[in-house]
Amino acid sequence: MSDQSCVYIKKEWDIVAARQMGRDIATQVGFKTVDQARIATAISELARNIYLYAGAGKICFEAIETVQKKGITIKATDEGPGISDLAQVMEDGYSTSGGLGAGLPGVKRLMDEFDIISKSGEGTTIESTKWLR
């Protein structure tokens, strides 16, 4: 059983739209305030990365329900320049944009599962899941 909705990231305001939609879905799944904030923050980081580094892309949400557990998966996809050194971007404090460098390592800590696939010149796909406890 799954249900998917997406927000296209083209302009700055889409970052807000994405985290609002994600928070709504997280609320429907049954997440409480702190986890709602974690999920919304993770979406904000992923959406901003798309906006800053790829220019455009999309964020999709999926409410997952299996027999044992429920959760939400965020999938961020872009066709931007890709990330050449994945180990480096997962380091705390690494940033090429003058930011805090908290984005991707932060998302990994905010969520439960985190997968990143990136090819130079082809784009980046990040899939991250939070399970309801």
């Binding site: 700055e12 305001w13 928070r23 305030t33 702190v34 923050t41 930011g99 805090l100 908290a102 932060g106």
Partner: protein, 118 residues
């Protein structure tokens, strides 16, 4: 979208009650520095009671505005940070250690008075 900045004696009071997008945050940073300059305020309280998400960008803008105001000679206290926001900031690895904070507006004003020794 502009965030209103209120003047009360030597202080500036700001309550952020809107969903903070990047542009609004940057605009606020500029507006606040301008207002400190034009009003001669010595203390600023930024109340975040209604803010339910602070990501790394907003955290950087807030941290920067505290440092920038300090450079100009005005002390800033952040108040009303929600439990969920505190948790996510630490998850993000953002500690805002040099930023003065207080539980609410009232405590924030007390803290300002102490810092400014008034």
């Amino acid at each position: 979208m502009r965030i209103p900045i209120l003047k009360l004696h030597n202080y500036l009071l700001i309550s952020i009650q809107t969903e903070l997008d990047d542009k609004t945050a940057i605009q606020f940073q500029e507006d606040l520095l301008e207002k400190i300059h034009s009003s001669g305020a010595t203390g600023v309280v930024i109340d975040l009671t209604s803010v339910d998400i602070v990501d790394s960008f907003i955290a950087k803008v807030l941290g920067d505005v505290v440092t920038m105001s300090d450079l100009m000679g005005a002390k800033v206290v952040l108040t009303g940070i929600q439990p969920a926001v505190a948790v996510t900031l630490i998850d993000l690895g953002i500690h805002l250690q040099d930023v003065p904070t207080a539980l609410d507006l009232e405590q924030g004003l007390i803290k300002l008075r102490q810092e400014l020794e008034e």
